[in-house]
């Protein structure tokens, strides 16, 4: 496996279930057992009603591009080599947005509203990272 030059996540107690699931090919988000609201990024409390009854649920992995940009300049190692790449905010079917890259797609083809689905790239033995690609 080639060396992963891009940043890796800092996995904490709060987020370990998320990264464990990514290794299995599942995208987890959180839902509050009290107010039933979904939230992302994962955190140890419900940001909506301020309770601690947080449950992990498996997202469908489907969503649409809410917005995006084709990055033409970034001197950060790992990203510089991939220019141009697409940074996007994807809105999941469950209604929460997450940052991602749109991969397996010509940047010129990316459009707001485009249907996408999650795909995972193994960064190393411990970490797989969720990305999105055009929906099949």
């Amino acid at each position: 496996m080639p060396e992963w030059k891009k940043p890796l996540p800092t996995i904490s107690g709060e987020t370990k279930p998320f990264w464990d699931a990514c290794r299995q090919g599942n995208l987890l988000i959180q839902r509050c057992g009290s107010c039933q609201e979904y939230q992302f990024y994962p955190r140890g409390i419900c940001a909506n009603c301020w309770c601690e009854d947080i449950q992990w649920v498996t997202a469908s992995g489907r969503g649409t591009v809410w917005t995006f940009t084709e990055t033409r300049q970034n001197r950060t190692p790992g990203f510089e080599e991939e220019i141009p790449y697409v940074l996007a905010l994807v809105e999941l079917e469950e209604g929460v947005k997450m940052f991602t890259n749109i991969i397996e797609c010509d940047p010129k083809e990316v459009k707001i509203g485009m249907a996408v689905e999650v795909t995972f790239v193994q960064a190393n033995q411990q970490v797989s990272i969720p990305y999105f690609k055009p929906a099949a």
């Binding site: 891009k6 940043p7 890796l8 996540p9 800092t10 996995i11 987020t15 609201e37 979904y38 939230q39 992302f40 990024y41 994962p42 955190r43 940001a47 909506n48 809410w66 917005t67 995006f68 940009t69 084709e70 990055t71 033409r72 300049q73 970034n74 001197r75 950060t76 190692p77 790992g78 990203f79 991939e82 790449y85 940074l87 996007a88 905010l89 209604g95 929460v96 947005k97 997450m98 940052f99 991602t100 890259n101 707001i112 509203g113 990272i129």
Partner: protein, 394 residues
């Protein structure tokens, strides 16, 4: 909730802009120190009059280190650092402390050596590879994807274009207006006029933003002295009153906020309510222009035009001196200076305009009575702050 009337409880009485755009031989503390001394002198006050110290930046030039450097013992220290708009928050906080009788006089100051330090403010990527982004990620769900500051504004521009048909040419109008103003400012970094075509034909940094849609990178600094009404009456210049102030943050909202509405949407209402004025009363505005899209979104969410109509609003010379709403008459961050956090320069130029400092030259906004400053810090696409202050003459 009972409220104290804060309008005209404090005024800007002294200003200084460190005119440097490149100062590799100075320290950040030195630029702050020199700026503080000259701003206090501009007010006609002395070191002993100042009992509040407000600054934003890093740990090296925090209020603690700065008080040490200046050998002062302030009764109030405020290091609020919420990105480029921090200084509008500082003015709001100084107003509170003065109105409450805790202090009589505060100095707000800032410096940065972004340019001589070789810092890629907009495209340098994430914290672990050098200079941190202005709004570091709170966790690990962002930096994995190669976010840049430019990219986080570009995404909002892309969405604005999608929803409202805004064009690159309309965004370019903002850059053209700022360059025109910079041509009247001898200290500005870039002073040669540009056209809309120049902007849209230039290199793209992050779609849809071109290089001239992005602010410059410079060194720089400055200071603002704020005093109680009583003290202000006895200062060298006529007081520039703080009429109103409002503070807000905006963020992802646990993944559910419509990011097309920025913090200005929340911060402007309390500021206008406190000041007792409306958008029609504003003679000129200093609008944080990290990127052209920042100006367009800010003008919409401050209520100068309807959501989605920003593209038309910024066109046709409206933002230029002589237009309906002149903004950033110093040339702004897009052409004059941007040392990382530009909010202090908004207060400086608005004060100059209200003092009538450019009377008899094209830079002066005629009969300037009321000015608005809105600072945006962080990134529109992830999380940012918005501080609105409204300033006025007697």
């Amino acid at each position: 909730m009972s409220t104290v009337d804060l309008t005209k409880a404090a005024a800007i009485v002294g200003i200084h802009e460190h005119v440097t755009r490149y100062a590799p031989d100075k320290s950040e503390l030195q630029i702050q120190g020199e700026s503080v001394i000259k701003a206090v002198e501009d007010a006609g006050l002395t070191k002993d009059d100042v009992d509040g110290l407000l600054t934003a930046g890093n740990i090296r030039n925090s209020g603690l280190n700065l008080a040490d450097y200046l050998n002062m013992y302030p009764k109030m220290v405020d290091n609020t650092t919420v990105g480029g708009g921090s200084f509008e928050f500082h003015l709001s906080h100084a107003l509170n402390a003065i109105a409450a009788g805790r202090i009589n006089c505060a100095v707000i100051t800032y410096s940065s050596l972004a340019r001589s330090g070789g810092i890629s403010v907009g495209t340098g990527g994430v914290a672990r590879f050098g200079h941190p982004r202005l709004d570091p990620s709170p966790d690990s769900f962002e930096e994995l994807y190669g976010l840049t500051t430019v990219g986080l504004y570009a995404m909002i521009a892309q969405r604005h274009m999608h929803l409202y048909g805004t064009t690159s040419e309309q965004l370019a109008e903002v850059a053209v207006a700022m360059r025109k103003h910079a041509s009247m400012n001898p200290e500005a970094l870039f002073r040669d006029p540009i056209t809309v075509q120049d902007v849209v034909n230039s290199r793209i940094i992050s779609t849809p933003l071109h290089l001239p849609d992005c602010c410059v990178i410079t060194d720089g600094g400055g200071a603002v002295v704020v005093a109680s009404a009583e003290m202000a009456r006895n200062c060298r210049h006529d007081p520039v009153w703080v009429l109103g102030a409002g503070e807000a943050v905006a963020h992802q909202g646990a993944g559910k906020r419509d990011l097309q509405f920025i913090a200005a949407k929340q911060s402007h209402e309390p500021a206008f309510a406190m000041a007792g004025v409306t958008q029609d009363d504003i003679d000129m505005a200093m609008i944080y222009d990290s990127f052209t899209i920042t100006v367009l979104e800010t003008l919409e969410d401050l209520g100068f035009c309807k959501k989605g109509e920003g593209g038309d609003f910024v066109s046709g010379g409206r933002l230029q001196v002589g237009g309906e709403l002149p903004i950033n008459t110093d040339g702004g961050g897009l052409s004059s200076n941007h040392p990382g956090m530009r909010g202090i320069f908004l207060l400086l130029e608005a004060t100059r305009q209200l003092r009538g400092q450019f009377e008899g030259t094209p830079r002066q906004v005629p009969d300037c009575q009321v000015a608005l400053c809105h600072g945006t810090g962080g990134a529109l696409g992830s999380r940012h702050s918005g501080g609105t202050v409204i300033l006025g003459k007697d």
